[in-house]
């Protein structure tokens, strides 16, 4: 009999959460196998071709199939609703690299706000102070550029960013002026993009194509550019691209035993490991667990709580586009050069709780096709073609967008499960998204949209409009998907009310870990990736210490 394909650890998914685990566990000497659906792309695979990359999405997730329904009584649509990257390095490969620490109250939403009807608010089992050292670790490993003293509303910190802030562009300078005029406190958006050579990676040349694109020069810090090379260099990593995990099996001892996965031809393989780490994002992770049924877990692995897949949060966006009387140079630089956080702290007097950060954002506004096809949504035109359309297109060089990343309230019925009929190319059930918004989301989105309109006016807007991508224009609107996925395998102390414990280990299966956005009990009003990274460092640190303690 051939030797069994066996490792110390199997990590499923190589994005922000999985990448850090690969980096840390191989550094600690573990033999690790990593499974990733999609290819292992190189910098040469990335360019600025907007049609190929963003509109047709030929680079990142060509064969993704999902279904969506508003609620259990609504019809189901088939499509592609989440902007994931199914490749080595995961969705972080095409991220915009906004790098935030959550505020201390983001970890204690239930106790800060009290219960809210219709929402499944929860506290995280950890505090900001517990994760703070790992935020620092993430910022320094990924080379965040920014002004550490810039945000008076940000989380407290003990150490500055490793790299100085990037220079601004005309558009961001205009947003800074506007925010100051309104009494806000703008600052350079912190980004994990090199403002100087750092970590053996190049300095950013400000080519303008970040969000939705892989970085052709590696200046953008990603799992692909930071973690994977380090992990491979240890010689301890067996990286397997084009490997779609379809089931985690369980042994008689109740421990996770192996992972069955399909290669690009659909052929099944099985790999065994003493510990299994799932990092498939908040859609892929519950999808895999729910496909992994057995006698002891008939409703999905690690699902004694019944909560695997529940409490999906996606954020929602308020966005305003406007034009000014001079070129904004928005197609140069980063995705975002300026932000302000004054509107973030929760204030029930506004008619809603929670909030979010506001940033100047160059995509989908300062790229030609996105400007014409996406930012156009919401533009008040009499006619969508002819001279009017051409005149709209001529606004391109003078256009600016500001967007708010808004915390959505969790609801238990918002969830991922397995579609009963729609299958992917391998015959696996498509993940089915059931998602609608809490009334708090609509109130927040409307209020923030008005504040962004104020920013446009203060910025000297010649004209302005609500850019309706990912916004909630009507009370029946809902996010069908996004680039931020959280909540579907909550961490908590109570095994009945959560899927994993404070160390992101399954309450049910003691050698099964989850380290992606799915463990977030609440979504925060910031882009989530730095928190996914920091949490993964925290879990890896615990994992290694526990392993050493058990050895000695």
């Amino acid at each position: 009999m051939a030797k069994r394909d066996e490792f110390d650890v199997c990590v499923i998914g190589t994005g922000a959460g999985g990448g850090v685990m690969l980096q840390e566990l191989t550094a600690a000497g573990f033999r690790v196998v990593a499974l990733q659906r999609g290819p292992f792309l190189k910098p040469a695979d990335f360019d600025d071709d907007e049609l190929r990359t963003v509109i047709r999405d030929e680079v990142f997730s060509a064969d993704q199939v999902e279904t969506y329904r508003y609620d259990e009584n609504s019809p189901t649509e088939t499509g592609r609703f989440n902007y994931t990257a199914n490749c080595v390095g995961g969705t972080m490969t095409h991220w915009a690299a906004w790098s935030w620490r959550f505020r201390p109250d983001d970890f204690k939403v239930l106790s800060t706000e009290g219960p809210v009807v219709g929402a499944s608010l929860a506290d995280w089992p950890i505090t900001y102070d517990e994760i703070e050292p790992f935020y620092q670790r993430a910022e320094w490993d990924f080379g965040v550029s920014g002004d550490a003293a810039g945000n008076p509303f940000g989380a407290p910190r003990k150490k500055a960013y490793p790299n100085p802030a990037h220079p601004g562009r005309s558009a961001s300078n205009r947003v800074v002026q506007a925010a100051r005029k309104l009494g806000y406190h703008p600052f350079p958006t912190p980004v994990a993009i090199n403002s100087q050579p750092y970590g053996a990676r190049a300095e950013c040349v400000h080519g303008g194509a970040c969000l939705g694109y892989g970085c052709p020069i590696g200046a953008k810090a990603t799992s692909l550019s930071v973690c994977i090379p380090k992990a491979l260099a240890t010689g301890k990593l067996d990286l397997r691209p084009n490997a779609t995990a379809r089931e985690i099996t369980i042994g008689k001892d109740g421990r996770a035993r192996s992972v069955r996965y399909l290669d690009s031809q659909g052929k099944e393989h099985e790999v065994f490991a003493r510990a299994i780490v799932v990092a498939g994002n908040a859609i892929g992770t519950p999808h895999l667990l729910l496909m992994s049924t057995s006698g002891s877990f008939p409703h999905g692995l690690a699902n004694s709580s019944g909560l695997v897949g529940c409490n999906l949060t996606l954020h929602h966006i308020a966005a305003v586009a406007f034009t000014i009387d001079e070129p904004g140079r928005g197609f140069t630089g980063l995705h975002s050069h300026a932000a302000f956080d004054d509107l973030h702290p929760s204030d029930p007097k506004r008619g809603f709780i929670r909030g979010g950060v506001v940033g100047e954002a160059n995509s989908p506004t300062n790229q030609p096709l996105s400007f014409a096809l996406v930012t156009y949504q919401g533009y008040p035109a009499q006619r969508a073609w002819g001279r009017e359309l051409k005149d709209y297109l001529r606004k391109f060089p003078r256009s600016i967008a500001v967007a708010a990343i808004l915390e959505d309230l969790p609801m238990e019925a918002n969830r991922i499960d397995l579609d009963p009929t729609v299958k992917d190319r391998y015959g696996l059930p498509a993940p089915r998204i059931t998602h609608r918004q809490h009334p708090n989301d609509f109130a927040m989105n409307r209020w923030f949209t008005q504040r962004l309109m104020d920013v446009a006016d203060a910025g000297g807007a010649v004209d302005k409009w609500e850019a309706q991508y990912y916004s909630l224009p009507t009370e029946r609107s809902a996010m069908k998907g996004f680039m931020h996925f959280h909540g579907t395998c909550r961490m908590g102390d109570d095994p009945k009310g959560s899927v994993v414990d404070r160390w992101c280990r399954s309450h049910d299966v003691k050698n099964l870990w989850i380290v992606d956005g799915s463990v977030f009990p609440t979504s925060g009003g910031y882009n989530p990736t730095l928190t996914i990274l920091a949490n993964s460092y925290r879990v890896a640190d615990h994992f290694v210490r526990e392993a050493k303690r058990q050895q000695s």
Partner: protein, 207 residues
Amino acid sequence: MSQPGLSRREFFLQSAVYGSSLWVLLNMPRPRAMQAAEESSARAALTEEQWITVEAITGRILPTDQEPGAVEANCVNFIDKALAHEDAQAKPLYDAGLAGLGAVAHRRFEKPFTQLTPEQQDEILAALESGKADGWPNALVPSQQFFETVRAHTIIGFLADPKHGGNRGYAGWKVIGYPGGGHHLGGYSPAQMIGKEKIKTVWGEEV
């Protein structure tokens, strides 16, 4: 595999009917076939009559004024190549839609679409866009869906990289003031980012 055609129709219907779109819905799975959409104007998918009709439609969606429009940018060539490759699933929609357009034009003006004045062409296209075109023959293919598809294709042909077959001579990028992909150009200096220095375009001019 699920039905990618359904997503396409849903998107175009959605953008026509509700006026809002999700960014991600533009990102539809498609076959990766298109390799040869260089500026070859040899027809790949459309008949000669279809070609001149599509060209005429694109010319009304992005008309020529003091600057080039869709005709000069050769958007029809982009569409032809897309229909032969990545967007082959939309070819039946074009076949049905162009037949419908011809029927509507004939009902209203007793002439082929390409022989109408620009004002008459606009009247026909507006009727298609509104879904109230007298004489539209095919209940299975809503005229709005056909119109929205050609509209989106025209925009893409105008503004995508010329290697996809449109945006001839960078006509579209010149109209909107886009210099080309930044990484391609080696990036931008801080002075260029604030307009203190000019930017060299892919086609060698300074803006």
